[in-house]
């Protein structure tokens, strides 16, 4: 049974708006999944995204959700590096940074160095919960998850996010950082990923199109 989306639920779903828009340009954010279930192409896109996440069934979905929820996906590795860097001085960090060959690792070092204290408590949980909600919405396309369950999980995800951050701006910054941490800083190549915009593009567009959604941080 599909439940009606109340203002409260919409607000909770919106936590994934940015990341969903990035992965699915034509997402209709006012629906449960964001995908048009009658459009084969859109369903195919959802399948493709699920495949990227390694989700083949409801079981895989829930396992993945658990990993994101518990911080195993991003926060743990972030925190590991951050706690190491917190003991470094500028000099020792520079030495480590210069010794690193891989440009991606270099970027990660730079990012973590910058946020090693600022994100000590939050880590990248904002990004993880955004992906958490997006995966639920993807799973809903293929019937892996019912709205009842989404509702329950959304509420808790919402609690986690709302207590960790104090505004939409702060939360979205965390989402962007997480995305950068995972995918690297480079602009995405449009020829490789046609139809997907950069996160920054999505961010701007979202704030224009749905300006009202992201003003009040409802706890």
């Amino acid at each position: 049974m599909t439940q009606e989306i109340t203002a409260k639920i919409q607000d909770q779903l919106n936590l994934s708006a940015l990341i969903l828009k990035k992965n699915h340009k034509h997402a209709d954010l006012t629906t449960w999944s964001g995908f048009d279930l009658n459009d084969d192409m859109q369903v195919k896109q959802a399948k493709r995204l699920l495949k990227l996440f390694g989700i083949k069934s409801g079981l895989h979905l829930r396992n993945s959700l658990q990993r994101y929820e518990s911080g195993q996906m991003v926060s743990q590795s972030f925190e590991k590096l951050a706690s190491e860097l917190r003991n470094d001085t500028t000099t020792t960090f520079d030495a480590k940074y210069n010794a690193e060959q891989n440009p991606r690792s270099k970027n990660i070092y730079k990012l973590v160095w910058k946020y090693r204290f600022i994100l000590k408590t939050q880590k990248l949980i904002g990004y993880e919960m955004a992906v958490y909600i997006m995966q639920m919405r993807l799973g809903h396309v293929l019937g892996f998850i019912e709205t009842d369950e989404m509702l329950l999980r959304l509420e808790e995800a919402n609690d986690t996010v709302k207590t960790s951050f104090s505004s939409w701006g702060e939360f979205h910054r965390n989402v962007c950082l997480g995305d950068e941490y995972i995918l690297g800083t480079t602009e995405q190549d449009n020829s490789t990923f046609p139809g997907s915009g950069t996160l920054w593009e999505c961010y701007q567009r979202l704030n224009i199109q749905q300006a009202d959604w992201f003003k009040e941080w409802k706890k």
Binding site: K56, S57, G58, L59, H60, R62, N63, Q66, L142, G143, F144, I145, E146, D148, E149, L152, R153, E156
Partner: protein, 833 residues
């Protein structure tokens, strides 16, 4: 002009004058009168004279050969073909009444016909005449007289004489039209008469082909292909004559079969007729010589056409070889026979209008060979897949078909297919790999799925571990591809796949795989139960030893169970209601310290308990889950040794159980258990810590002289300072070490952030106030060293002032004896300086 008038004319003109000259006996005369009356020729002398003969009344009419000759034998009339024909035609009324011509007349007649057949069949001769003459021939053949065999012989001779096709055909058409060759009569040498139906048997050969079977067979084969498309031919004439004897002849003369088959093929080509009767000719033993023969020769397109016309009642074992030859025919020349008309119009029916039971097992390798995704040709694949899909998969539910193998019905089994048919054990992986991308929508894969399912536990013997692993991947791929196919295919195959997988994935441990198989339940409801059962067999299997991973999994999947309102991970209900005691026993038997694990687990479980309680009022299911958790905790904690719980856990549990909103308040079973554990533990803690101390004390004193400051010694000292009064052991030596290395100790405390320093100063402070350590007692030395260490640690810190103030207050209070007060004053002085 009707027959009688015609006859009268010829009689009056040609025959009566002769009769007048002839002399007859009375009996013969009477026959003549009857004849004349029949043809209504009474206005003549013969008749009139005879009537007046009074003797005639008494006698029997005798149609002697003399009379017969007078009536029928008039060769001079045959000079004119028209007149001759007319004469013969005029005989009909007489012959109808049993006045048959004598042999001589018949022979003359046949001679006449032989030479004038062309004229006879031309349009010059009227249809009436033709009809009359054939009528006469019919009566003659069927008459019980010598004429019968003679006429019949004549007809067959002419019919088999294909040098004169037109006449042969003319006779064939009319013999069929008037049904002339029905039975024939032979007058034996002893004048007995025997009548035979037209059947190709020894009599027939004897009377018509000079007792030479080969002569007949050759003639037959020659005439078979002759005829016009759409019209009746010699074959149609003789169709009813085919007999068991003919079949027997073929059975004993294989060479003739070859000619027969060739003749049939030619007949098929020239007259487009099927020749079903001859092809399916059988002996009295139900043996089909010609069909059997086809099974023993290399096929060409003609054989395909013929075989497609086989009788439906032929015993299966006589057909087996034919099917094999058919497959051979489709295989040779790179399968190019697929493109022939013979296959498209006929051969395909051999497969499509058939059942698996009739076809040889060899069809299976043939099919896989032809439809192989790499080696097969696309247009052939479609056709063969449809054909064999229908044959081998339809109406078989989940079983493999019964087919023909080594001339017997054979129930195909998975193990047999794998071992003896596919024979791919060496190249299993690459072989199976090719089929993966086709998906379950391909009948080949459906058949493979059925094969593996049929083999069941045999799979574990048939394949080695690596192959089994690949087989699992293959089956998983098939299952997932079921999403892109029809509901019917999914419902039919998915349960088989899951069953095979649960056999293959039997060994415990690989939970990634277990989950992957378990996750197949989302594809279709038809496997929901079996997938859940499968997962349960891995996660809750009392026949297997437990391990931490499994227990961890129970707690992890509690989340799914809760969020989905009991729809997912449904075996959690079983795990939580039945496995509590078992889990506790596992931990009790576990050597290593598991208290940390249990602490995390209990935290996790109670967090869900809390959520459930929170929603209980509005959601009944949440209440049920809460009850389940309570049940588990009762079982688990009730059976768990108290040693496996650490302080934090117990404090947490105690606190949680007293919490009003989401607690175990009404749990009459659980609460006492927690209380008991709590009390037990906090009595134990002191004892245990002391034991640790004693152990350390004994083992460390030996090396103490050379010891330096390290965490272990810090710990020992702290324990000693905090517990010396209870234990009565005062470790003076270790205190000396610390006094000596005071700088190292201070820097150690600086690095520590766990609050050891505070505990130290607190413990040392207490020693200052202990009267048992005052100067003059046996423990004076311990007291002095403690005092000195205290001063070292506190002096110069911001705490120094407050300690000094405290001590002053103590001195002033007057509670302490003088020796103690003196020491305290000394300490105050030391702190100040």
């Amino acid at each position: 002009m009707n027959t009688t008038q015609q006859m009268s004319a010829i009689f009056i003109k040609n025959i009566v004058p002769k009769l007048e000259k002839a002399s007859f006996s009375d009996a013969e005369l009477k026959a003549v009168i009857q004849i004349l009356e029949l043809i209504n020729v009474t206005e003549n002398n013969v008749y009139k004279k005879s009537l007046s003969n009074s003797n005639l009344k008494e006698v029997q009419a005798d149609f002697s050969s003399k009379v017969s000759q007078q009536i029928y034998f008039h060769p001079e009339l045959y000079k004119d073909e028209a007149a001759g024909i007319e004469l013969v035609a005029s005989w009909l009324p007489l012959i109808e009444n049993g006045f048959y011509p004598n042999e001589k007349s018949v022979l003359k007649l046949l001679d006449f016909l032989y030479f004038n057949l062309t004229y006879f069949q031309s349009s010059t001769t009227s249809e009436v005449i033709k009809a009359q003459i054939f009528q006469i021939l019919k009566i003659l053949v069927q008459s019980k007289s010598q004429a019968s065999l003679t006429v019949a012989r004549f007809l067959l001779e002419r019919i088999f004489d294909i040098r004169d096709v037109l006449n042969s055909d003319f006779l064939i058409q009319n013999c069929i039209k008037y049904d002339i060759l029905n039975s024939y009569t032979v007058v034996n040498q002893d004048q007995t008469i025997s009548t035979h139906p037209f059947q190709i048997d020894d009599n027939f050969i004897l009377y018509f082909f000079e007792n030479d079977w080969h002569h007949f067979i050759t003639s037959l084969h020659q005439i078979l292909p002759v005829g016009r498309i759409g019209s009746l031919t010699a074959y149609d004439l003789m169709g009813p004559w085919f007999s068991n004897e003919l079949a027997l002849f073929y059975q004993n003369n294989t060479e003739s079969c070859l000619y027969a088959i060739n003749a049939l093929k030619e007949r098929l080509i020239f007259t487009e007729a099927k020749s079903v009767e001859l092809l399916n000719i059988k002996t009295s033993d139900n043996f089909y010589p010609l069909v059997h023969f086809i099974g023993n020769k290399v096929w060409d397109a003609g054989d395909v056409l013929l075989f497609n016309n086989r009788d439906k009642n032929i015993p299966q074992n006589q057909l087996d070889y034919c099917y094999l030859k058919f497959l051979d025919w489709l295989l040779i020349d790179g399968g190019s026979n697929f493109n022939t008309e013979a296959f498209k119009n006929h051969g395909i029916k051999i497969l499509s209008e058939n059942t698996a039971e009739a076809l040889p097992l060899q069809c299976i390798p043939f099919w896989f060979n032809k439809c192989h995704p790499k080696a097969g040709q696309r247009h052939q694949i479609e056709v063969y897949n449809t054909l064999f899909g229908n044959l081998l998969l339809e109406n078989q539910t989940d079983r493999l078909p019964t087919m023909r193998f080594q001339n017997e019905a054979f129930q195909v089994t998975g193990a047999f297919l794998i071992n003896d048919v596919f024979q791919t054990s060496e190249i299993f992986k690459s072989w199976l790999q090719d089929f993966i991308k086709l998906g379950i929508i391909s009948p080949l894969n459906q058949f493979l799925v059925r094969t593996f399912h049929d083999a069941q536990e045999e799979l574990l013997n048939l394949y080695n571990a690596e192959q089994q692993e690949f087989l699992q991947l293959y089956l998983l791929e098939m299952a997932h591809s079921a999403r892109d196919t029809s509901d019917e295919i999914t419902k039919q195959n998915l349960p088989l796949i899951v069953k095979s997988l649960s056999i293959l994935c039997f060994d415990p441990g690989n939970f990634t795989r277990v989950n992957e198989i378990w996750g197949l339940k989302n594809i279709d409801n038809c496997v929901k139960k079996s997938c859940n059962d499968f997962a349960k067999s891995h996660y809750i299997n009392e026949n297997r030893p437990l391990n931490l991973n499994i227990i961890q999994a129970w707690f992890n999947y509690l989340g799914d169970f809760y969020y989905s309102s009991k729809k997912e991970a449904i075996w959690i209900a079983d795990a939580f209601s039945t496995q509590g005691v078992r889990a506790a026993q596992y931990f009790n038997a576990h050597d290593e310290n598991v208290s940390f694990f249990i602490d995390r687990a209990i935290n996790h479980i109670t967090s869900f308990h809390k959520k459930c309680k929170h929603r209980e009022a509005e959601n009944q299911i949440a209440g049920e889950i809460a009850a389940l958790i309570e049940l588990f905790l009762s079982d688990f904690l009730g059976a768990l040794n108290a040693e496996n719980l650490n302080t934090n856990t117990l404090q947490f549990l105690k606190k949680y159980s007293q919490n009003d909103t989401s607690s175990f308040v009404h749990q009459t079973r659980l609460l006492p258990i927690i209380d008991k554990l709590y009390q037990h533990h906090f009595k134990d803690v002191l004892k245990e810590e002391t034991n640790v101390f004693i152990k350390h004390h004994i083992t460390t004193t030996v090396a103490i002289e050379t010891a330096s400051i390290n965490p272990e010694y810090v710990d020992i000292l702290l324990q000693n300072l905090e517990n010396y009064s209870a234990e009565g052991i005062c470790d003076t030596k270790i205190l000396e070490v610390f006094n000596r290395d005071i700088v190292a100790f201070k820097s150690f405390l600086k690095q520590d952030d766990t609050g050891i320093e505070t505990r130290f100063t607190q413990a040392l402070y207490m020693t200052l106030l202990d009267v048992n350590l005052a100067p003059g007692t046996t423990l004076e030395n311990y007291g002095t060293l403690s005092k000195s260490l205290f001063v070292h640690l506190v002096k110069g810190t911001k705490m120094a002032g407050s300690y000094a103030m405290g001590l002053k207050a103590m001195i002033k209070s007057g509670v302490y004896p003088e020796n103690v007060a003196t020491v305290l004053s000394q300490v105050v002085e030391d702190l100040k300086s």
